[in-house]
Symmetry: D2
Subunit: 164 residues, 4 copies
């Protein structure tokens, strides 16, 4: 059986300090569980921090790039999948992940990934979003969306979901 | 200069009666303005109603299909673009439209299109969404998102945006 | 029933004079038959010439763009479908066409479209390719590929294929 | 620096015994060099054999799937990238590989990958194609295409190309 792939989505240039801290810790915890980390691969923000966190714990990291080369891919990405498809690669991010974690989620790119994941029937965990986001996304996602407030709680929930 | 393309996004099987009525009227009004109508092309819900509305006024209708053939495309679609890409075609819908109108917008597919449109810098008009949706999407979209409550008001706004 | 869409594929910057002449005439003949012309949309080479030919006869022209905006799209394209997907849009070109005509076909981009068309079960007509190309492509395409040496013969063949 | 990714392309259901034997041996040799193996991921033909060969030598295998789930992916694929994009995923195969090896190459799917690889400026090695294929593809690919007749010679050439 293939190892589980956990997708972490979140802001690039506009990520807050708390979001990147969450991403760093979550990446590390995902690696310690033996799961593969998938992200949009860029060398900024949540994607970069999550990949670095996973590498710090010896994990395996995938980056699904938007450009037609690897010029924007983080050094902490082990395997760069180059799509040349811009935001259309967001669909690949969610289809290739067992479970998707959105850190924050008020950015339009991250929101598109939450929506595409729900559309494809994947479970989405939103770590630390705003109250407005929770209220609305709960309505959109129903039982396929959950909200957490720490990387630790997120990993506990992923374990439960993978075991189900 | 090419004619403006107005993209109408909305639910397929889960569209409400009000949403399909709005779509029908909006499609008709778009055709009367001489704009081309673009949708996801399916023969159900908002997409189908918008295409039928446009055809009733002699308009030109595009459908960007998700499947690898035209088996799910509405008869009211003049030109079927077949992508075989599933939800990744949502990116094409927004990039190919001058302005995107989301009717409703609590569905995950439509939400992904709103988010992708904002991500790509396009203006989004949400016609008739819920209060939760408005509150949250206003935060995500800033000045690139507007809210209307009738097809007539929507067309007025499109005119202003196209002239800007 | 939707109007037939005929896809014309061929070189951009490296098109020969004969290829662009063929494209111009073929575009015109396609428009006169009432068929819609589809191409990769660029403002150079075979794509541009075919679109201009079709417009000269009052036809309707589609361009499936590779970029994320319409900056490389010919003025002779009526409807620009913007994919932002680079060469992945070649798949859309072939899936959206009833029949594909490759003018020349020694270029790698055109060859990818011939191959993708055959893969998806579409009929390909190669207008004016080299002897090496014919020999090899005949082997790859079997009964789904034909070779012609003039726009007139190409249109005659399209008619037969559409009627079948 | 990221490990090199070598893409192996070839027939699925129509692969010959020699082609799958070549794929098996080449996959094994690629793994022994420490390179990552990439393929279209399916559980048949050249893709399956290459992945199995690589796994037999402890390698890491990627499969870029065409479907929207992993139902057609080989058990010998460690990491399944799920695109839901049909043949449009062929573009991803070539962009994500440092070098592309086509085993055989008279099939339309493989031919599309050879062409897309050349289009994107990647080097293609054709292992064991027909004389017609060589003659024509040499003309299309120029200095970016090479022909070999054994997995051993292929790996030697990859080494030289990666070192260049």
């Amino acid at each position: 059986m293939r190892r589980a792939v956990i997708g972490i989505m979140g802001s690039g240039n506009n990520a807050t300090a708390q979001e990147t801290n969450h991403a760093l810790e979550l990446g590390e915890r995902i690696a310690k569980e033996g799961w593969i980390l998938l992200s949009g691969g860029r060398s900024v923000g949540v994607m970069d921090a999550a990949s670095k966190g996973a590498k710090s714990a010896g994990g395996l990291t995938l980056g699904i790039g938007a450009r037609s080369d690897d010029s924007d891919i983080s050094e902490a990405v082990d395997i760069a999948i180059i799509t040349g498809m811009g935001s259309a690669r967001n669909t690949i991010n969610v289809l290739s992940s067992s479970i998707i974690v959105a850190i924050g989620g008020n950015g339009s790119g991250t929101l598109s990934e939450i929506a595409l994941a729900l559309k494809s029937g994947k479970h989405v965990i939103v770590l630390g979003g705003s109250e407005e986001a929770k209220k609305f996304l709960q309505k959109v996602g129903g039982k396929n969306i959950s909200f957490t407030d720490s990387p630790e709680a997120t990993v506990k929930l992923i374990k439960r979901l993978l075991a189900a």
